[in-house]
Symmetry: C3
Subunit: 204 residues, 3 copies
Amino acid sequence: MLLVMYIVAIVVEAMSAALAAGRRSMDWVGVCMLGCVTALGGGSVRDMLLGHYPLVWVKHPHYLLITAGAALFTIAVARVMHRLRKLFLLLDAIGLVLFTVIGCNVALEMQLPFVIVIAAGLITGCVGGVLRDVLCADIPLLFRSELYATVSVVTGLVYVGGLQVALPHDLIMVIAMAVGLTLRMMALRFNWSMPKFVYTQDLH
Amino acid sequence: MLLVMYIVAIVVEAMSAALAAGRRSMDWVGVCMLGCVTALGGGSVRDMLLGHYPLVWVKHPHYLLITAGAALFTIAVARVMHRLRKLFLLLDAIGLVLFTVIGCNVALEMQLPFVIVIAAGLITGCVGGVLRDVLCADIPLLFRSELYATVSVVTGLVYVGGLQVALPHDLIMVIAMAVGLTLRMMALRFNWSMPKFVYTQDLH
Amino acid sequence: MLLVMYIVAIVVEAMSAALAAGRRSMDWVGVCMLGCVTALGGGSVRDMLLGHYPLVWVKHPHYLLITAGAALFTIAVARVMHRLRKLFLLLDAIGLVLFTVIGCNVALEMQLPFVIVIAAGLITGCVGGVLRDVLCADIPLLFRSELYATVSVVTGLVYVGGLQVALPHDLIMVIAMAVGLTLRMMALRFNWSMPKFVYTQDLH
C-alpha cells in the first residue's frame, strides 16, 4: 500500500516538473531530467546529508525509469492536464505528507535526534521542488508561498509525537498523514499562507 | 593515454567555464572557482550520489590546481580563443564521451545495476555544465538544446552493451567513444536537436 | 571560546541571510530555511565532499534550532538592523575566518593533503553564501566582488603554513585569523577587489 502510494507520488512529482519544464520550452531530455531530479531529489539530498547509502534509486533503479517515463508521458497528455488540475493538487499533497513520513522513518531508523527526524521529513518532502525551481533559475516557490513546508513540519511533529503514545505504528502514520493532508487542502481552499517578511533597506 | 585525455578534458571544461565567467564579468576568484566546479563537479556529484569516497580531486589534489590554473590562463589568452572555436568544440565533445565512459566505469566497479551505470555516465558527463549554468543563474543549457545529454546516454549504452560481447575492454571503450563523438560532431554540424516540449497553460 | 565564536558566526550568517530573504519578500518559512542553509551549508557541503559523517548539525541539532531562531528573530529586529551595519560586517568577517580555520581543521584531522586543507577551509567559509545566492536566483556575490574568497585562502595558507613552525597550535590559529580579519577589514575599508575578467565574445 505504501509502495503504491510512493510510486503514485513520484509519478505526480515528475509530471508536475515536466509541465514546469514545458513552460520553459525545455527539450525532451530536459523534461526527463527535471522530472527525475524533482521526484527523487528530496530523498537523495536527505540521504547524502545523513550519509545513508545506497540512495533509494540506486538500490531500486526502476524508480528512475518510472519517473523518466512519467515525465515523457506528460508531453503526450499535456493538453488534457488542466482538466485534472484538482486531482493533481490532491495527489501532490498526498506525495508531500507521504515523502515527509518516509523521510522521518529513515532518520528514526538511524536513531537520530528528534529535531533531525523532523528536518529529514521536511527535506524529503520539499527539496525536490526547490531543486526544480533552482534548475529553472527561479526563486524557490517554497520560500515564497503557501503552507507547503509548514504542512511537512506539522506532519512530522504529529508523527514523531504520536510515536511516544502507545498506539500502533501504522495508525499513527495514517493520523499524521491525514492531519497534514487536511491542513494542506484547507490551505489551498482558503488561500492560507505564512506571513511574509518584507525588508527594503540595503545592509551593504 | 586515458589520463592524458582526462587532463585535456578537465582543462577544456575549465577554460569554457572561464569564458562563461568572463561573459558575466566575474572576478579572478570567481573564474577559478567556476572552472573547478564545472570541470570536477560532474564526477563529484556522481561520487556523492553513489557514496564513492574519496572523491577524485580529494585523492589527486593536483587536478584542482590544474583546473584552477587553466581557468586563470584563459584570462590571458581570451583574446585569441575565438580562433580556436572549432578545436574547442572537438575537445569538449571528447571530454563529454570520456567523462561518460569514466562515470560508467565507476558504477561498473561498484557492481551497480545497468540503469545506474548509464545514469553515472550521464551525471559525470553533464552535471558539471549544469552546475556552471546554475551558478551563472541561467536555466541549464543542457535542458534546452543540443544532443549533449543524448550523446552521453548513447555512449553509455554502446559501452555497457559492448561489454556483453566477447571483445577486449579497451576496444569497446574506443568504439563507444567513437560512436558518441561522431554523433556529437554530426549534431553540431547539422544542428540536430531534441524536440522541445512547449507548454503554455498554468497548472496552478 | 571557539564554540562561542562559532555560535556567534552562525547566528550572524543566519541573520544576514534572513535580510536577503526579506529583500525578496520570502515568507517566514523561507526566511528560516535560507538562514539554516546559509549558516550551515558551507560545512555541510565540505563534509559531503570529504565523506566526513555525521554532519555537524546532525550531531548537534541545536545548531539548527539556533540558526532558525536567529533568522526568525531578525524579522522582529529588522528595523534597527541598519544601525548595526558595521558591527555586522565585523562579525561576518570573524565568521569567515573562523569557518575557514574550522574547515582546515576537519581536513587536517582526516590527514588530507595540503591543497585539500586549503580547499576545505575555502568551502566552509564561502559556500554558505553561494547557496544563499543560488536560492535567491542570483549570480553568487562571491564570484563577482570583494576579497571574500581571497581572505579565506590567505587565512588557510597562514594557518597551514604556521603549523610547519614550532609554535603552539592555538597561537597559530589566532595569528591566521587575525591576518585574515585584517585583510578583510582593509578590503572593506579601502574598497579593494580582485580584478574582473570581462569577456564579450561568444564562443558558441
